[in-house]
Subunit: 449 residues, 2 copies
């Protein structure tokens, strides 16, 4: 793979009028994604002169690959006429993404630049709630009527194809624009020229509705291995399509959100280095306070056992070992269950089987780790009874931690809450309190305190 | 969305000879993915009679949607002739997936069923290492030569299209099969019939090599928004293609693996309920033992401060609160950095900026949580000095935890090790030891012990 960012010093040198032609020719062989990487690496004043060098088609393709902030920065440096051209020619879904993120005033000014038809369309799309199918769909699709022949359809595509985002699938509609069938471009190419579309197309179309969440759309596309899915309104009228590349981005974003949630971080849209430290504190403090309040219970538990600790102070030395290991095992269980529920691999109706399995695994892990911890305790304390108490507490703690770690996410799922909340940090806090109770009760019984 | 599994009782009733025709007609409108769901829900003996009802094309499409275990179970119940037909007609990448997972003896027997050309091809593909581009690619692709015209190419596609997995892109090769260009089916359809392929195609093709890891392939496809990518050997000869649907599965699997790794669980291929408890113990015990050994250090640290604890036993009560909160904040930092590095959003050369930001966020979080913890301590102990010690220790612990949580993953990344190892459980164990040292040193200084 070429690393386009390595080329930036060379490109910088070529940004002089006499080298312009040479640079333009060199850029022809680049993918828009790579050119966009170069644009991002240049200084703002260089960006404009570099961008102007690109061919018209390339400008639009490259502009669409930039992220929203880079797009609006670039727009502010271009002439008004140039902005108008770019905005009018970019695909509707990318245009909506851009305008959604801009302050209302600037978005309004840019909207005013658009041709009337594009403006009306964009305004309509901007009305859909963010993260719904309507908000991420594009309206550039290849639609044909059922009563057309294969040849007429191919001609229609030849005449309009360059404007359409994807024509790998053709969507068949009736005269009221109701979605009635689907065929792939492949089906059309292999059909006999005189065949009617309605005879070649499949009438069984799987579609999503404009108000469906983008995560559901991703699930549908993944399940059926679609590269595009049609979007209809509540009356079944074709409104747009969503292509796989937009959904891959959704999947990646949702994955990151899930992972962050499991570490008790609230979702955020911006990249890490773009989030201000204060905003970052806000995303993280909420759950930390909740867990702190939970952990405060440990203080009361320990005060309860003050006389026990007073008589055998050695017992206090193994507290971090026990609660830390319990937290780690509980984190493993919670993570397995939360991810299993998220991918649909685990069904919550197998609750007893899951809990039973986790408890058993916890017991076996507890036996192994309990032996190790017992040896360590005996080595440090020289007291078999204390070693025995730590070993037994380790077994009981690990069973408790694995059962808690698997039970909580399933309960939350059943209550239609997000199971990811019950991930590592939450389980660790719950386990801390319970493990201390287990430990001191076992110690008191074994040491007769 | 229809829920095909709800239909199973109805379908079961229709599995009688007199209702066969009706059932067959009803099934025509189902997507193979949905029929596969029904197959999985039926009893083994019903599966065979149900499967036989399907049209030939549907059988193959449905068979390809089943997972490897279901495929081999079904194969073992079908007649030898039926197996032969299915195996010969399924796409090569799915066939390789199936044979790779079967015991060598059964795989060998099935291989022998194949026609000679299919067998040779399959044997060649089976030689690629698992999880490489070669192992997941399909050899069914639409290849054209540069000196053909658009019309000749379209005719070639019409003649062979039904056999090809995807013809959304056409790959142009020279007479030695070197990949020399690419055009989309859309480009071909809109080209003039007499135009030469080499004049319409783009000579700038982005490809992957047979031995590249599937995760890299996924990254390339995601970056360029491809729906298919060509695979070449070391000489640049076209060997196959990888389609987006296979890569979406790879992305999902890799995501799950990343999440599991971050919870200190070793990767496993099977679904949760299919992993035996003993295998599950093996996947989880390794890191638990490592963290246990780390946590054992806490015992020595605490013994070191035995006289301090002896004189103010109250100090021991706040140990879980401090180390637990430190672990939670460290988990947040580690998760943000690990995920950022994995998605490419964070560049490790920004190390100082990242550490500085995390340290600052840790300081602010520490101030807020330190106040709360101080209040709690004062309420429990009635001693301002102890409350002050806990508050100060909380601030210092959170700075240490956030810096450690961000530093370790970056260091591992720079050492070309997997940053995910340094996730929550690891950081929590490291933080436990350090937090105890911080806490008791601060307490000794403030309380003059």
């Amino acid at each position: 793979m070429r690393q386009p960012s390595f080329l930036i010093p060379d490109i910088r040198e070529m940004l002089v009028p006499e080298k312009q032609k040479e640079l333009q020719e060199a850029l022809e062989e680049f993918h828009p994604v790579d050119i966009a990487e170069i644009v991002v690496g240049l200084e703002p004043e260089e960006q404009v002169s570099f961008f102007r060098l690109l061919a018209k088609d390339q400008q639009i393709a490259v502009f669409e690959e930039l992220d929203q902030e880079e797009q609006s920065a670039l727009l502010s440096s271009l002439t008004k006429e140039h902005c108008r051209e770019l905005l009018n020619d970019m695909s509707t879904d990318n245009r909506v993404d851009l305008l959604q993120d801009l302050p209302e005033e600037i978005a309004g000014r840019l909207l005013a630049c658009l041709s009337e038809s594009e403006r009306k369309l964009t305004e309509k799309l901007l009305k859909y709630k963010p993260n719904t199918a309507g908000a991420i769909m594009t309206t550039e699709l290849a639609g044909v009527r059922g009563h057309m022949t294969a040849e007429q359809s191919l001609q229609l595509i030849r005449d309009t194809a360059l404007l359409k985002e994807t024509i790998y699938y053709l969507y068949v509609t009736d005269d009221q624009n109701h979605l009635t069938g689907i065929l792939s471009l492949r089906d059309l190419v292999v059909a006999k020229p005189e065949q009617l579309i309605q005879d070649v197309a499949s009438p069984y179309v799987i579609s999503v509705t404009v108000d469906q969440d983008q995560e559901e759309v991703a699930k549908v596309m993944e399940k059926y291995d679609f590269i595009a899915v049609p979007v209809v309104d509540e009356e079944g009228k074709l409104q747009g399509i969503i292509t796989i590349d937009d959904v891959v981005d959704v999947m990646k974003k949702e994955s990151t959100e899930d992972i962050h949630k499991m570490a008790a971080i609230m979702p955020h849209e911006e990249e890490y280095l773009e989030v201000s430290p204060w905003a970052m504190v806000q995303k993280r403090i909420g759950w930390l306070v909740v867990f702190l309040l939970l952990e405060m219970v440990t203080g009361s538990v320990l005060r309860n056992y003050q006389t026990t600790i007073d008589s055998v102070i050695m017992l206090a030395f193994f507290i971090p070992l026990l609660i830390g290991t319990g937290g780690n095992a509980g984190t493993q269980s919670a993570t397995l269950i939360i991810r299993g529920l998220a991918t649909g691999e685990l069904k919550p109706n197998r609750i007893f089987k899951i809990i039973w399995k986790e408890g058993f695994v916890g017991f076996v892990l507890g036996l192994a780790l309990g032996c190790l911890a017992g040896l360590r305790t005996y080595w440090m304390s020289g007291d078999l009874l204390i070693a025995g108490a730590v070993s037994c507490a380790m077994v009981a703690t690990l069973v408790m931690a694995t059962v808690t770690g698997s039970l909580f996410p399933i309960l939350l799922y059943r209550l239609k809450l997000d199971p990811a909340v019950a991930a590592g940090p939450f389980i660790a806090s719950v386990v801390d309190v319970t493990a201390l109770l287990i430990y001191f009760e076992i110690a008191r019984a074994i040491l007769h305190l």
